[in-house]
Symmetry: C2
Subunit: 402 residues, 2 copies
């Protein structure tokens, strides 16, 4: 019995049934690029730890400069020259101190006059040609970070700017999520290894490579179980091993109705079958089950269809297992060719993007659902929802980048 | 003497002065995710190698179904059932053969009737209830790829869909560009290692981590030379080693005017100084030189400024060294707060994005230029060009994602 869901229902089922698995690793700062943060990281100290100049110039009391101008400069006594990395002696009224960019300003001063707005009046005196306001050209202690402030929240995908921020706080080891382990199984009597030459009726095993690289690109470790013949006992044996070794298992293929049922039966033997079929094109014969906390997914054998299922549903499953809070942004593009509706099923179609007249234009890449090479010509995809009439040429529609 | 360029001039200088370096590696297909393709890859055979059904159904001659309907079905003799992975015997007129999704259709047939549009009339006969057109539910030999067709062009950043496509063609080893080696040097008397506790006037070495992780995230190998005191001889020694060991060298810091000049002098000792200063904020004190084919870059010591210089200029430099053809798309967002102009300099500012009413909204993240933690609160950035009056609240402006 098929138990077909819409894509929206599938997203809900995924959210309701799964949660973050696996442990936390404490890795050195130089190894956490692209990893998912496992706890909130908070500031433990003030950054910067002192009031710093943001320019090369003279630290002074702002009120000593009030009213000055090029014709009537404020003449200040040059007390000292501050050296980088050293603290500064307090500054008296009517005095100033040279400070390089990033240098600590002396106690008593409250702003910095840019060197360009001053003149060296005599050996020990500086003429300030323009009034400076309190706080001008300063970075205050704690401006970048204060103790207790959240620097990066649990679930953040770490980027160079987070790594820089952790470095500024002296966080040399970072707690990140362990990579979920995904098992990939390709089934089908027509499949041969990629190194072999197909006879008539045979095709190479694309899905093992496509799905493994997809899961790795999205933050998982992969165990590839290779090609399994389309026999319930053979698939069942490998599936059992994969369920015990992995946090999620993807079984692609099983092309005929009977074989699809076999995959569904096997998946159901581990727990509830959450759905069997998605009202979408391509990707309809997709199955989701649950072995305890572990998603078991049956994907179409056609690589092109499998890729859309991975992009739409395996990606959010991975994010949930990882506890990642993904950030994705949708582009808007002008459709360069009409796209028809697709009676009752959401249709997903690859598009090629180009810029013209300051606008992004999307040209559908016409392809039959099983084809993977056509996807290499697409920059992203569009979705024609199931209850629409399709999109007219010239419509502005959302485009999702691959 | 400063030799200040606009950001546009800098892009031109980068394009004109540098080109792809380094060799090619032949890697196994499972290792090329995210790498840059070093040659055009062309199809060597037809994929699929035979005409395949895209549904479960009956292969037949289309004209045998013309005129049929639910009340007057076309009755065809069921010749055979095609098995996955095997070739099919030719089909006579008035006959059909069961074919599973992905199965090879027999010679003589030119379409497939979906199983849902048929009825098993008797043991050896099938009733077709709906006419089928020639080509319907078929994927033809070569539909996905033909010999000679370019599958992926030199310079492509390889994604799972390329890997799948290569697998379908039996390409088990892929020529990719070697990773350029980038040397990272942090200079400054105020810098301490991230594991140390700063005294007043000291700050931790953020740029080593920020720039290393940035270059690694963008496809480079990194040699980090650590912290060097602000002394021309010391910097010169390390720079010499880095120039001989790396394809590009980044020297950040040198906060005072005198020290900036020292970095510029050292860079100039290897070849032409291409510019000294960019008319932008933050990031003005940026220097670019050339040691033969190798870019030597002086970056601001302030991590926040350094990060913008990396995002804007180091990224395209890396792409050129890699021979990569990058694809980037620009979002449009409604500005939620006015942003002022910035006399004569292009201003770059971090923004936080949110969706509201089907539109993307950008809120500037106000930060002083040296600060890196504020960047972790930004999703991307905007640019206020130097010749504009700034942007009013509510303007629709381009946003670049970090």
């Amino acid at each position: 019995m098929l138990n077909v869901k819409t894509p929206e229902e599938v997203f809900g089922i995924i959210r309701d049934n799964f949660h973050a698995v696996g442990g936390t690793e404490l890795l050195p700062l130089e190894k956490v690029n692209g990893r998912i943060l496992a706890e909130d990281v908070r500031g433990t100290e003030y950054v910067p730890g002192f009031d710093r100049s943001s320019v090369d110039g003279y630290a002074l009391r702002a009120r000593d400069s009030f009213g000055c101008s090029e014709s009537i400069p404020a003449i200040l006594r040059l007390e000292s020259s501050i050296e980088m990395g050293l603290s500064a002696a307090p500054l008296a009224e009517g005095c100033c101190a040279y400070v390089p960019t990033g240098g600590m300003i002396p106690e008593g001063s409250d702003c910095v006059a840019m060197v360009e707005h001053t003149e060296r009046f005599s050996e020990g005196e500086v003429a300030v040609l323009k009034p400076v306001s309190p706080g001008e050209n300063l970075v205050y202690k704690g401006d970048d970070c204060r103790p207790g402030q959240i620097i990066a929240a649990c679930g953040t995908s770490l980027k160079p700017q987070h790594i820089g921020s952790f470095a500024s706080l002296g966080i040399a080891r970072v707690p990140v999520r362990s990579k979920p382990v995904v098992g990939v199984i390709s089934t089908g009597d027509e499949l041969i290894a990629i190194s072999e030459t197909p006879s008539e009726g045979q095709v190479r095993d694309v899905n093992s490579y496509l799905l493994s690289s997809f899961c790795e690109a999205n933050g998982c470790s992969v165990i590839s179980y290779g090609i399994v013949r389309d026999e319930e006992a053979a698939i069942g044996g490998i599936l059992g091993r994969a369920v015990s070794e992995c946090d999620m298992v993807l079984v692609s293929g099983g092309s005929s109705v009977g074989q699809k049922d076999a995959t569904a039966r096997l998946i159901e033997s581990y727990g509830p079958l959450l759905f069997h079929g998605i009202a979408m094109k391509p990707g309809k014969p997709t199955i989701l089950g649950r072995a305890g906390e572990k998603p078991l997914v049956g994907l179409p054998g056609h690589p092109g269809a499998s890729f859309f299922v991975a992009t739409l549903f395996i990606k959010p499953l991975i994010d949930i297992l990882l506890g990642a809070v993904p950030k994705e942004y949708v582009l808007t593009a002008v459709l360069d060719e009409a796209v028809p509706a697709n009676q009752g099923r959401a249709a997903y179609e690859g598009v090629r993007l180009r810029e013209s007249g300051g606008k992004l234009h999307a040209m559908p890449v016409r392809a039959k659902s099983g084809l993977v090479t056509s996807l290499t010509r697409s920059d992203g995809y569009i979705c024609v929802p199931r209850d629409t009439e399709g999109f007219a040429r010239g419509s502005e529609i959302p485009v999702y980048i691959f």
